[in-house]
């Protein structure tokens, strides 16, 4: 039995502790805000925050979050309203297919939490491990900078 906090709420599961965190979040807790992209920690589509730090959930075992706090894209909402960062992504239309978007927003939120006023270059560096294939990069950077300006 592993217990942890998921988006602020205590949860527990009897799934084997070596199970990838992504599978547990997507399958057992029906989270949408973490996507399978590579299973090799290469693309960050599966990114979540563990105790505020970005973690690729596809390779992290469930046991790694025992007693910790896991935040997915869903957990960034302000109640039923988009967070400032989510709203900025909507305002900038910062996606095409949107498959990488959840990992982008989670990574960007982790950046803004430690650096509320990042430069364009700092945003790009922070997001360099998040792959986007559609070419929405500049929109995504604009969305993060917009959210930072509004902070």
């Amino acid at each position: 039995m592993i217990s942890f906090k998921l988006n602020g709420k205590p949860v527990r599961t009897t799934v084997p502790e070596a199970t990838p965190l992504l599978e547990v979040l997507a399958h057992d807790f029906q989270m949408n805000g973490c996507k399978f992209g590579c299973g090799k920690s290469q693309c960050s589509a599966c990114l979540v925050m563990v105790d505020g730090n970005p973690v690729r959930s596809c390779m992290a075992p469930l046991s790694a979050v025992a007693g910790r706090s896991v935040t997915t894209l869903e957990g960034l909402m302000n109640g039923d309203k988009p967070s400032r960062l989510q709203q900025a992504f909507i305002d900038e239309q910062a996606a095409q297919c949107g498959y990488c978007t959840s990992g982008m927003i989670v990574q960007a939120q982790a950046l803004l939490d430690r650096n509320p006023k990042p430069s364009d270059a700092e945003v790009r560096t922070a997001l360099d491990g998040n792959l986007c294939r559609c070419g929405a990069h500049n929109r995504i950077v604009r969305a993060v900078l917009r959210a930072a300006q509004g902070a």
């Binding site: 199970t19 990838p20 599978e23 997507a26 399958h27 029906q30 989270m31 949408n32 805000g33 996507k35 399978f36 992209g37 590579c38 299973g39 090799k40 290469q42 693309c43 589509a45 997915t72 894209l73 869903e74 909402m77 988009p82 989510q86 992504f89 909507i90 239309q93 996606a95 095409q96 297919c97 949107g98 498959y99 990488c100 978007t101 959840s102 927003i105 270059a121 945003v123 790009r124 560096t125 997001l127 360099d128 491990g129 998040n130 792959l131 986007c132 294939r133 559609c134 070419g135 929405a136 990069h137 500049n138 929109r139 995504i140 950077v141």
Partner: protein, 747 residues
Amino acid sequence: MTLKINPTRRDFLQSTGYLTLAFAIPLEDALSQGTPVSAKPRLAGDLNSTRTLSAWLRVNANQTVTLMVGKVELGQGILTAVSQICADELDIDLQRIQLISGDTALVPNEGVTAGSFSMPYCATAVQQASAEVRAILLQLAADKLKQPTASLSVKDGLIQSTSGAQIAYWDLVVGEALNREATGLVKFKPASEYRYIGRPVQRIDLTPKMLGQSMFLQEHRPAGMLFGHIVRPPTYQAKLLSVNLALAQRMPGVVKVVRNGSFLGIVAKREGQALAAAKALTATAKWKVEKVLPGDDGIFDWLRKTTPNKIIQTKVQPRVGGPVPAKTMQATYYRPYHMHASIGTSSAMATLGEDGVMLIQTHSQSVFETALAISKMLGMAPDKVRCQHMQGSGCYGHNLADDAAADAALLAAAVPGKTVRLQYTREQEHLWEPYGSAMVIQTQAGLDEQGNVLDWDLQLWSTPHGTRPSGEPGNLLSARYLAKPFAMPLPVNAGGPNYAADRNAIALYDFPGHKVLTHFITEMPLRASSTRGLGAYANVFAIESFIDELAVAAQVDPVEYRLRYLKDDRAREALVKAAEKFGWASWRKTEGRGRGIGFARYKNIAGYCAVAMEVEVNRQTGRIRVIRAVASSDTGQVVNPDGVMNQIEGGMIQSLSWSLKEEVKFDDTKVLSSDWNSYPILTFSEVPPIDVVLIDRPGSPFLGTGEASQGPTSAALANAVFDATGVRFRRLPLTPERIKEGLDKAA
């Protein structure tokens, strides 16, 4: 915005069931049912093949309108664009539209969502259908209110007469009124009256994605769903000799082990269990493996030496009269295999229902043709396989979406009544997708004394660019591995001149002599199929590099040189606008920097696009830094400016990724590019600032824009690198190693 995609049939009937109330209407239908199709007027886009208005639109009592389209959302924004058009022509708020897209049981068969055809074919059909439905509703209201139609106006579905009488669309008994063919006679609104067309409307599917609400196929989790995984052979032609099925069958959670010839699959209760069992199968499987590939270094020689299935005279325009050329220039350009490389691996869900129908949720671009191919593979009647489109990761062409649908169906057939979801591993996606074909393009020009083109000669060598399912099971990977295998049909260079391998091989320039020859090779060392732009990416790279070489040789500015041969006014404007936006005239060269420009009109019939770029090349490392890029786009009437910009900009970034970094590596046995480390793509810190200038043409046809910018971008890049270094690079990608090697050799 309600985006209702893929409801169950029951939902659908519930929302529209009242329409079965028959109602005789006093409308004259000029076209009797018995008229042969050939005698009927040509209707707009896909309305020509699906002519009945009720196949496209329903007016619902719950104050909504259901819009049904065969084209599907791939991240390109098509569903938003068609909604904008429908809302404007029908005079309703956008929020009233409920969309059904890509369900083979419910929507018009619009073929494949590809080729930048969705705007010209689907959007124009929706525009005409919406305008005609509005006219019918006005006529119904006029009869009901006993007012002349000329006295009526509409606002958000509320019809008002100048006399003050009013009635809403939803209160009209529409009944059978829409169950008639379009006439093509109803005029569109003037552009000045549009509320949505031409405005940057937010994409209807993006907000839910940004909030973590369910929108992707991967987020659909019916109760009792099982998980599938498959085992691919180690190589394309490998045959399964033996495997320990019993071992996998005993593993935790395994519901079923499926073997059919060389096809191996697992159905399990959990994703991880299916994957573990698939790994166990892989470990015990023994295969007969062939060594027949030419390798990535040998592919270009292989293309030149292999006997083509066909040599196609794509364009034959001999020069009549004039001087003998004073000199001749020649160059050869190379494009390696590229991947679609979707960020999310391909996925599908399938259920063999009690009614004997195989229901498949898929992110395929070709739901109808894929359903037909799968029905043949499974030996089922065509109407017993139904595909429903659900969104997946962006695909950029024919990737593994259709194979995932076929594999999910093969597994679901083994566990009737259960839903099986399958999502490939990253290795499977990288190794097995049908790549964009490697190509060789040779150009030659006969020139006069001043360096003007007299004769332009282009030859290209390519394997196929179209092996989509097309209703043929042999185009589905797994169907080739079954105990009773389906042979792959011989690929064709479809669509006439300038369409597939030879897409954009005919330069838009008006040269006195102009020949294009396509060496179409149907043997495929690596599996290949439609990848964004097909042959256009490489052909435009070659044409636009070569014309730059000719301009340099003639000592003429490359923009001016192109304008000499560009007679199409819109093409000229696109080129000039991009140059102006870039600041071409005032640009000053500095050490290590260069500028380049590239232009094409996609397929010579779709969107016009020019790209200008500034780069900096580090001679020590060979590293190219793209400083900035600008593009112009003329795609006819712009429906969603932000959507067009997103497509142009996204296409440029993807093309920069192809052109700077991407090449599928393979040896004599197998593909070696198996993940993002061995097949790197462009990252945030490598993406330049991009400016896009739109040239709007209100009232002119929609041209389509999704594949317009890739070709011009690759040439602008190579031309800028030449400008910066004085060395011409003709083999893609322009990696630091290749640039350094070329610079060292030239020094």
